[in-house]
Subunit: 410 residues, 4 copies
C-alpha cells in the first residue's frame, strides 16, 4: 500500500463534497485516514479536511487521486503544473489533463492562474511567459502547444450548492414535473428580470417547435424587449420563423388553426429560395421582405445569432454555418460572458451548448420530453433547472409574467 | 371454397369502410367478388356495395364474416338474431356475440331494435317480450339471460368520419403535439361552449396532477360555471383538493412556491382523518370545514361525482367506492346521456371511462405522456382528440378561453 | 430565537446524512452550531455529531425538528414516546406522528421497541402492556388505539448507502438506460441466485405486458424453478395468461406472429367466462382446463398470489379481490418477510407495492417508460434499481442468465 | 365555380387512395362528381375512377389539384411538363413543383420519363435533350437549370399497401410496443436474410447507444457476415467503438460491468487523439492499433461508411465530414440502390436518412423512445416498421436469429 496526503477546503458538508470524496475512495477500493477535520460551525463558515489516501500501488493511487482532483483535492504543498508539448496538430501528449466544467486554476511559476473559457472534457494549454492558461478543444491544439499533464499544480473549485432562498434556487439541479407550472413560470420570470437589472447576459437556445407550437411571438417579444443577448439555433427555427412572416404557416401548418394549408409543404422551400434570392436573412429584413418575427427582431435590435447546420437541413439559409466545427467555435465565442442560458425544445443544440458552458452559468431547460430534460440538467450543476412542459404554453406565459413584473416595478 | 353474399351501405369510401373491408378479406386469406357497387356521386350521397365473400370452409368463412360484421356487413335478407340462455351467473353460452362500441341493432321478431348502453367488449341480452336489447358486462349476466349468439340479425353502424369543418373536427382521431397549443385550446373552448349552449352534457375525468400542477382552481371554476355535469375520479384528486383547502398544499407541496412544506407529508393523512371525522366530503363542505375547491364546487352546485378506489389509496375518503366493480357500475350510470368527456392527466380512470363509452361521445384527452394519449385516442373513434401537454398550463388557459368566449357572445 | 440540542450517530458522511441535516436547517431558515463532531476515521467507523439547532419560535423550531427527525436526529436524553387515544375509528389524534419507510424505534417505559411492519406515511400504535409498537394505515385505526404523537421518544435509522462492491449495488438508487443491458441482466441474475441460496424471499409484481410481449413463459419458468415466493398482480395478467393457455392469444393477438387473430377480441371474455364456469383459477388448473403458464405454475407449486381489482377490469376472475382496501391488506400480508421485489411493467401495482415496503427491501423495477421507472426508484432507497427496457426481451434474458449461473455452479 | 376532370388508376380502394381523394376535396371545400368508376372485382384487379372536381375559382381549384396530384391524379389528356429557368444558383422559379417520396414521372416531348433519385420536398430538373429528369435539393440548383413548374405533365404513383402475408408486412406502417418482441425480432431476421439472398442491399444508421448498451459486437458481426452494405453514422458511434477497442470502455463506462472507470472520461479524447496521430480510422485499423469492432469490420470488409459531423462532436475523427451539406450529399450517394434501412437508436441521423429515401425502401426503426419511432415511421410509407425497444437487447437477439436462420437453411 502506498499513500499520499491531500486536503480539501470549502463548504465540504453542505455542498456534499466530503461524502462524495469518501464514497469515491471506497468505491475505488482505496482506504483513507482523516488526519484533521475542522467543520464550519455556522452558516457561512468553511470546513477543512486533511486526509491520507491509500492505494494498492502507484497506478491505483493515481487513479483515485485523478478522481479526487475533480472534487477539489489539493496536494498540501503545491508544486507548479507540469506541461508537455503537443507532438502534432490535434494530437495530445501522454497523460494530458482533462478538464471539468468547474472553475480551475493552474500553478505557473508559483502563482495560481485561472484557466480561461473553462468547459467540460477539454485540455489546458499554458503560456508561461504571459502567465495565462486556456481551455482548448482537441481540434484547437497546435503542434508545440504546452499542454498540462497530470493533476499536479491544478486546482478545481467544485460548485457550492446555493442556499435555497428563492423558488428558482430551490429547483436547482432538479427536473420539475407535476409542479404548479404557472407559479414555476413566475419564479423564472423574476429571476430573468432580476438578472437583466443587474446587467446579466442571457442566451437563448431554441428549436423549431418554438415556431410550430405558437411560442414564436413570445420569443420575438423577449428579443425586442432586450431579454435575449444572443440566440443560438439552427436552420429550421429561422426557416419556419420566416415562413410564418411570409406565409403565416410553420412547416405548412396554419398556426391560427393548427391545420395544414393546401400546397403548404412548398412554403419552407419557397421561403429559403426567397431569402437566398434576397441575399440572406439580414438583407431580407432590411429590404422589407421579412417584417416581423424572431429573426426580424434579432436583426433590428442587433442581437447576434449563431445558426449551426445539421444534416437534416433543407437549403440552408445563407447565414447558416454548415461546417459544424466552425459553428461550434462561433457558439463558444457567442457564449462568452453569458450568465444564463434558456434552452427551448432543442435537444441537439442544447446538448452542444451545455458542453460549452462552465458550471456557474444558470441554465433553464424546457422540453416536453422528460428524458431530454433529465439529460440536460444532469450535468453536476446546481445551477441547472429543468421543466417538463409544452413550450407552446410555457413561453407565452413566461413573457406575460415578465411584462407583469416590469409593470409592477414601474 | 364456400361463399356468402353480404352488403354494405353508407359512406363507404370517405369513412374508409370499403378499403378496410377488402383489406380484411385478403389479410384473412379470403377472396371477394364485387357484384354491385354504386358510389355516392356527391358529398351527401351514400354508397352501396354488394359482394360475394369466399372462404376455405365454413369455419374460415365464419371468421371472416365475424370481422366484416364489425364494419357494418349485413346479410341481404335479414333473419332474426339467435339467442341462447346463460347457463349460470357470469357464464356465457357458446358462440356469444361480443360488441363493438358502435351503435348496434338486433333483429327481434322481424324488427330492428337498438341495443341500449352500447360499449366495447360486452354481450347483448334481449328481452323479446318488451322488444328490448341491452349491452351487458359479463358480471351483469344472470343465469337464464337470453344472450345473442352469432352475428345473424345483428347490425353495426360504423362511425362516419365527420367533415373537417372546425379545428376540433380536424383534429379528430389524432394526437397533437408540436401544434400551436394556445390556438388548439381556443378551438376546444369553442366546442365546449357550443356543446353546452345546445344542452349537451360533459363529464370530466381528472387525476391528482390537476391538484399538483395548479390546474385545480380552473377545474373548480368550470364546475361552478356549469361546464361540468359529472366528475369521475379517485381518492387522490379529492384528498389533495381538500388538502389544498385545509393546508394550502398538495401532497405536502406549497402550490404557490412549488416547494415542500416542513411536516407537509402529514397533511394528506390529516386531511383524510378530518374528513372522516366530519362524516364525509359532503358534510365537511356543509359544516364549513372545506370552503373552496373542486369537491366544494361539486357539492355546492349539485354536480354528481364518482370516486373509484384503487390499491394505491390512503384512507380512503368516505365517499370513495372501494369495490371496483361497484365503482365501475356507478361510473357507467353517471356516463348515461353524456356527450363529451374531458380526460385530464389520469391514465387508469381514463382507460376505464374510455371502455364505457360508445364511439359517438366526443373525447378530449390531455396528458404530458404521449404514450398515454395515444393509447386513449387510438380506439377507433373519429371523435377522440388527444393533446400532449402540461395540464397545469392547459386547464387555466382553457378556462380563460371559455370565459373570453362567454364575454364576446354576451 | 429558541434552541434545542440534538445528536446524530452513524455513517453521517458517507451515507450523506450530515449534509442533508445542515441543508435542511438552512433551507428552513434555521441556524445551527455544531458542538461536537467526531468523524469516523476509517471505513467502518461511525461518526457522531452533536449540535444546537435554533428556530424563531417554538413552532418554527418544531417544524425543523420534525424534518431532522426523519434523518435520525435524537434528543440526547431520551424520554418515552407520547401517545393519545384515537377519538374514533379512522380518526387520528392531533399531532399524530407519521412514519417513514426506515427502521423505527419507539421508547416505551424506558425501552426502545422496534415498530413492526414499518412503511411510509402511516402512524404508530403502541401496546404498552405487551411492549409492542405497530405501523398502521389510517383505515386500520380503531377508536381508543394509542397513537404516537410528536417526535419525542421516536428514533429513525436512516438507510446506509451500501458499498458499491457489486454491479447490483453500484446501480442502487439509479435508473439505468444507455447501459450494457445484457451485462446488467447478468448482474441481476447473480443477485437473485445468491439471495435465494441464502434463503431470501422474492416477490414479483407483474403487469399484462408480460403476457403481450412474450415474457410470460420466462416468468412461468421462474415460478416453477422456485425463484418467486409470491406473485402480486391484477386481473389482466391472469386473464391473458390463461387466454394464452386456452387460445394461444394475448388480448386476441397471436404471440407467435404478433398479429390479431380473427374473432380474437372474444377470447379474453370467453376465458373469464370459462374460468368462472370452472369455479375459479385453482379449479381450472386442477380440472386440467388450464395446463401451463404463470397461474398454472403458481397453483402447482403452491406459490401464493394476490390479484387486486381495478376499475379497468373485465369480469373479473373469481380470485380477484374487488375491494381495493381488502386487496391492499392481503398484499401487505403477502409481503411479510420479503427481501426482494421485482416489478415488471406494472405502474399501478408497483407503486402500491412500493408504498407497502420498508426501505430495506431490494427492489428491481423494469419498465419501458423512463418516467415510471424514475417514479418507482426515487423513493429515498439505495436498495432500488431501475432499468428502462423492454420486458419482452428482459425477462427471457434474465431467466436464461439464471439458468446459466445454476449450471455453472452445479 | 370552375371544374376540371381528373382520373385515377390503381389499387384505389385497398391502398386507401380514393377515400383520401374524396376527403381531401371536401376538406378543402371543393365538390366532386364521379363520372366513371370501375372497381377491381378481384384481388389483383386495378380500379379506375374519373371525376369532375369543382373549386370556387382558378386559385382554389389549383390548390385542390396540387394536393390530388400527390395521390396520383392525372389530367386525362396528358400534356408535357412545364419548366422554367432557375434565376440564380439556389433560387427557384415561381410555381416550382415540389416532390413527394413516391415514384414520379414527367412528360417530356410526349414521353413519360421517371425522375431519378426521387425523395421528399425537392424539385425536379429536366434535361430535355437527353430525356432525363432529376430530383434535386435546393442547394444543388444552378442558374439556368430547367425546373418543373406546376403539376401538368407530372405523374405520381402512390404506394400500394402490400398484402399482409408475412409478419413483417403486417407490421408495415405501424409502431410496435407491447408485442411479442422476440418473435418480432425473428420476423425481421427472416426478412433480412431473404432480402440478402435475393441480392438486396442494406444500409444501417446507428447512434452511439449501440456502443453504450452493448449492441456493438452484434453490429460488428452483421458487418463481418455481409448483412450491412453501407453504414451511416456520426462521430460518436465511431469514437466509442474505437474507445471500446482501445480501452474496453464506452464514454468511460466499462461495458462488462456498466460502471464508470476511474479516469474514464479521458478515454474518448485519448481515442480521438490517437486515431488522429495514426492518420485516421483506416490507417488505425491497417496499422493494427484498432483490432476489432464496428469500424474495424467496415475497413476489413470494404463496407463503405459515411460519418456526418454535428455540433456536439468532440474531435472529430479525421473521416468525419464536418460540412453538413457535403455529408448529406455523401449520404445520398451511399443510399443509391439501397433496398432496406435499419435505424438503430439515432434520431438525428435517422431523420436525415429518412428524408433521403424514396417510399419504396423498407425501413426498420428501433428506438427506446416511442416519440422518435413514431416520427420516423409516420412518413406515409407502408414499408416502414417501428419497434419501441432497447437496442442493447434487440440487436444481439437479431444477430442470433439471423445466425439461426442461416444454420437452419444450411
Amino acid at each position: 500500500m502506498i499513500a499520499r496526503e491531500v486536503e480539501f477546503e470549502g463548504h465540504l458538508i453542505d455542498s456534499n463534497i466530503l461524502p462524495r470524496v469518501l464514497d469515491l475512495i471506497l468505491d475505488l477500493d482505496g482506504e483513507f485516514e482523516i488526519t484533521e477535520f475542522r467543520i464550519g460551525k455556522r452558516k457561512h463558515d468553511k470546513s477543512y479536511a486533511r486526509m491520507i489516501v491509500f492505494g494498492r500501488d502507484e497506478e491505483h493511487l493515481g487513479e483515485i487521486l485523478k478522481e479526487l482532483h475533480k472534487l477539489g483535492a489539493r496536494i498540501p504543498d503545491a508544486e507548479n503544473a507540469e506541461v508537455a508539448e503537443a507532438p502534432n496538430d490535434m494530437v495530445l501528449p501522454d497523460g494530458f489533463y482533462v478538464t471539468t466544467n468547474n472553475p480551475t486554476f493552474v500553478r505557473i511559476n508559483g502563482e495560481w492562474v485561472e484557466v480561461e473559457d473553462i468547459g467540460m472534457d477539454r485540455v489546458i494549454v499554458v503560456d508561461p511567459e504571459r502567465k495565462k492558461a486556456y481551455c482548448k478543444f482537441l481540434n484547437e491544439i497546435k503542434r508545440g502547444d504546452l499542454v498540462v499533464v497530470g493533476e499536479k499544480g491544478v486546482k478545481v473549485i467544485p460548485p457550492e450548492r446555493p442556499r435555497k432562498s428563492s423558488t428558482f434556487e430551490f429547483m436547482g439541479g432538479h427536473v420539475s414535473s407535476e409542479r404548479p407550472t404557472s407559479n414555476v413560470v413566475k419564479a423564472i420570470a423574476s429571476e430573468i428580470v432580476e438578472l437583466k437589472k443587474n446587467g446579466g447576459r442571457i442566451a437563448v437556445v431554441a428549436g423549431p417547435a418554438v415556431d410550430h407550437t405558437g411560442a414564436r411571438d413570445a420569443l420575438a417579444g423577449m428579443i425586442r424587449d432586450g431579454y435575449v443577448d444572443v440566440l443560438l439555433s439552427g436552420n429550421a427555427l429561422a426557416v419556419h420563423d420566416i415562413e410564418l412572416a411570409l406565409f403565416g404557416t410553420s412547416l405548412g401548418m396554419d398556426v391560427r388553426t393548427g391545420r395544414p394549408v393546401p400546397g403548404g409543404n412548398r412554403h419552407h422551400i419557397h421561403t429559403i429560395s426567397r431569402v437566398i434570392a434576397a441575399g440572406g436573412i439580414k438583407k431580407a429584413v432590411e429590404s422589407g421582405l421579412v417584417g416581423e418575427g424572431i429573426m426580424f427582431e434579432c436583426i433590428k435590435n442587433n442581437v447576434p445569432f449563431v445558426l449551426a447546420g445539421s444534416i437534416r437541413d433543407d437549403g440552408p439559409l445563407p447565414e447558416v454555418i454548415t461546417d459544424v466545427m466552425k459553428a461550434k467555435k462561433e457558439m463558444k465565442k457567442a457564449l462568452k460572458g453569458i450568465n444564463m442560458v434558456i434552452m427551448l425544445a432543442s435537444m441537439l443544440h442544447s446538448i452542444a451548448v451545455g458542453n460549452l458552458l462552465p458550471s456557474t452559468v444558470k441554465t433553464i431547460c424546457v422540453d416536453s420530453n422528460p428524458a431530454t430534460v433529465t439529460k440536460l440538467v444532469d450535468r453536476g450543476s446546481h445551477q441547472a433547472i429543468g421543466i417538463v412542459t409544452d413550450v407552446g404554453l410555457f413561453l407565452p406565459e413566461l413573457y406575460k409574467s415578465i411584462k407583469e413584473i416590469e409593470m409592477d416595478s414601474a
